[in-house]
């Protein structure tokens, strides 16, 4: 007989209701007679109940890693380990999932088997950065767990001041809006920086996220340092018969009020014959009309990516969205892809050398100015990087002529 369950009157209340309950899951593990993790989960539930009662957390950090790597483990030691000794160590392994989070049942079962043997039986699919979070290993089990996961093809994700685990949307695998090979971009980028991921030595964290189109299902603009978003450069495709069918179904007024007036740049007009006029030069690829009329409209053929830098959450200058540093990059040939990796290398080198301790790319760019950042990584300024030019007259433009010349030279070239 194992350790008896603690009373968990508050947690118990989270077992009712229609949404599947993680408490029920935790209890199942705590009741799993004979399993190595059973007692751990009994005490974990005890500590969690205590948190619910006192409204306080009881974990503290520490330092732990697996052989050869410096990061990827989130150590957790309990501050109430004397009351709940079996869960006093409850560490997490951040493991990178396949790009796009595809699994078959075979590999899922194998992952379960590893965590049954070495862990707590509790796995999160997935953390907000995209990791599979294997939670609840004791210190002496970390290495074994990792080795087994590593053997079946999985590698450690990021933690600390390092390149972090990235994410890419389902994209080309099952989405008609996809403009690029998301999984290839993600794997190329992250796998090129595994050293910076596994041996944390950057000023602070650095995240890649890849979305196949401007719908940005990966939230990359706000949740990554380098956001890669698929887009296209030529005209969108219009199937006028499908347009007419949609107009017939919904009515002209509906189309005007829900599609035409919602275009951010007024690039749409409904013709008198119920076909759609698209002013492609002024379409900003926002996706709205394409989303609504998915059968009638779709992205063009000349596809590529837009790259933004500097998205992050609040610390310490406030929330930041990424901002455009490459309006369009073609990703067709292997050289194109190499160019992308090279750019990322320049960015990370510059970040490593110029950011302050605990400073994200967005904060660094804000501090030194976009112009200096661009110069540092060897990119020219172009108008797509701004939503509007300077409105402050407080500036010394002594080098105007030389700067203007640069533009003229580039145009001539």
């Amino acid at each position: 007989m194992s350790k008896p369950m603690h009373d968990t009157p508050m947690l118990d209340q989270l077992e009712s209701g229609p949404w599947p309950s993680f408490v029920t899951g935790l209890k199942r593990l705590a009741n799993d007679e004979g399993k190595p993790y059973q007692d751990t989960m009994v005490d974990l539930l005890g500590q969690l109940e205590l948190s619910y009662k006192t409204r306080k957390g009881y974990w503290k950090g520490g330092t732990l890693s697996v052989r050869g790597y410096g990061g990827g483990v989130i150590p957790r030691f309990s501050e109430v380990g004397d009351q709940y000794p079996e869960s006093k160590e409850f560490h997490t392994l951040r493991i990178m999932p396949p790009a796009g989070m595809h699994y078959d049942t075979k590999i899922l079962r194998e992952l379960c088997d590893v965590w049954e043997k070495h862990g707590s039986g509790l796995i999160a699919f997935h953390g907000q950065s995209g990791d599979i979070m294997f939670q609840g290993a004791k210190s002496n089990k970390i290495q074994d767990a990792f080795d087994d996961l590593n053997d079946i093809g999985f590698d450690m994700g990021g933690a600390g001041p390092a390149v972090r685990t990235g994410m890419s949307c389902v994209g080309a695998a099952r989405c008609e809006q996809s403009c690029v090979n998301e999984q290839k971009i993600l794997r190329l980028l992250v796998n090129n920086f595994l050293d910076d991921m596994h041996r944390p030595a950057l000023p602070y964290k650095f995240k890649f996220k890849v979305s196949g189109c401007p719908n940005d299902c990966m939230n990359s603009v706000q949740r990554s340092d380098m956001s890669v978003i698929g887009t296209w450069r030529d005209d969108m495709k219009v199937d006028q018969d499908e347009v007419k069918a949609y107009v017939a179904q919904k009515g002209r007024k509906y189309i005007v009020d829900n599609v035409i007036t919602r275009c951010p740049t007024k690039a749409l007009s409904l013709n008198d014959d119920d076909t759609l006029a698209v002013d492609n030069r002024n379409c900003v690829r926002c996706m709205h009309c394409i989303n609504v009329m998915t059968k009638a409209l779709s992205p063009g053929d000349d596809k590529g990516v837009t790259i933004l830098m500097g998205g992050k959450r609040t610390l310490k200058i406030g929330d930041l969205f990424g901002t455009v540093i490459v309006p369009f990059m073609k990703l067709e040939t292997e050289e194109d892809y190499e160019g992308l990796v090279e750019m990322a290398e320049n960015v990370i080198d510059f970040f490593a050398e110029n950011a302050l301790e605990h400073e994200r790319t967005g904060e660094m760019i804000d501090r030194i100015g976009l112009a200096n950042f661009l110069e540092g990584i060897g990119l020219d300024v172009v108008p797509n990087m701004i939503s509007e030019p300077r409105r402050s007259s407080y500036v010394n433009m002594v080098d105007w002529d030389e700067e203007a010349q640069k533009w003229n030279d580039r145009k001539a070239a």
Binding site: L14, T105, H126, Q128, S178, P214
Partner: protein, 355 residues
Amino acid sequence: MPPRMPIESGVPDPFQYMHPLMAKNYGAWKYHERPRPGVLCHTAKSGEKIWTVRAGTPRQLDLYTIRNLCDIADKYAESHVRFTIRSNIEFMVSDEASVQPLVDKLTSEGFPVGGTGPSVTMIAHTQGWLHCDIPASDASGVVKALMDELHEEFTHENMPNRVHMSTSCCQINCGGQADIAINIQHTKPPKINHDLVANVCERPLVVARCPVAAIRPALVNGKPSLEVDEKKCICCGACYPPCPPMQINDPENSKLAIWVGGKNSNARGKPTFHKLVAAGIPNNPPRWPEVAAILKKILNVYKGDAKDWERLSDWVERIGWPRFFELTELPFTKYHLDDWRGARDSLNASAHIRF
């Protein structure tokens, strides 16, 4: 035997696990439909079709739940699944006839089918008391409590557009921007446990971390410690992770706040940050009823008033904040006026007025 060194294999290749129909039509999809809530049907340029059934999970999965999902996938689907960024699970099938039995099975096993199109999908959430070292609230518990209330909205597509929510258990907000985001706001400056500072905290580092320069090094009882200028302190909690003796979490005074109108997609307007609408909400486990009540009020008003395809941000932009506060019956206070950098741009510099 030399110690085993890691195989630095990086991000796994997804094709080995991907549904074969998806691999085959990779990059060649034509359009999609939603035959019913929770079900997508994508048609490839080749004419082939794949059906996806999406179901909610608690994200924190025990082995039994995962193996149960695998059993369902093997028996009712084609053994291939994926997880969405919001921890929903997706089962792919190549045959329309498989859809209904799969939906029925998932439903009967307690996995709600939904989260597609204009529904309230799963809440992006974080670690909370279960695992994090700095939380002022829980994560999985809050989400379970709220999703119980929003079950109907998950399994139906009755919203004007998709609703993305997030919760976060401290101000760091790992949950991110959302149509509706719930976080913690501390309202008391950190209480410093001076005995511990010297041992646990690198003082210059903590001083540098404060966004308003409210912390200075100080000698307290002869020992090196820290001092907080409480007038300046904005109770953000940024000092706590690098220096846990700067206790910021407070069971009473750390309150929940609700932010709306965040959007990361580029559809229509550019991405927007979420904005504060309600604060001072008690952190009330295990079911956080006060949060749930406000949340449902906001969602109901949005549902009733917004036009098709309007995200919450689009809707408020159209109807304006005066009407938002009127319809939701939430109080408007001086705290709604921003005062951080660039705050001036959030004031109404126009005669655009709502009556």
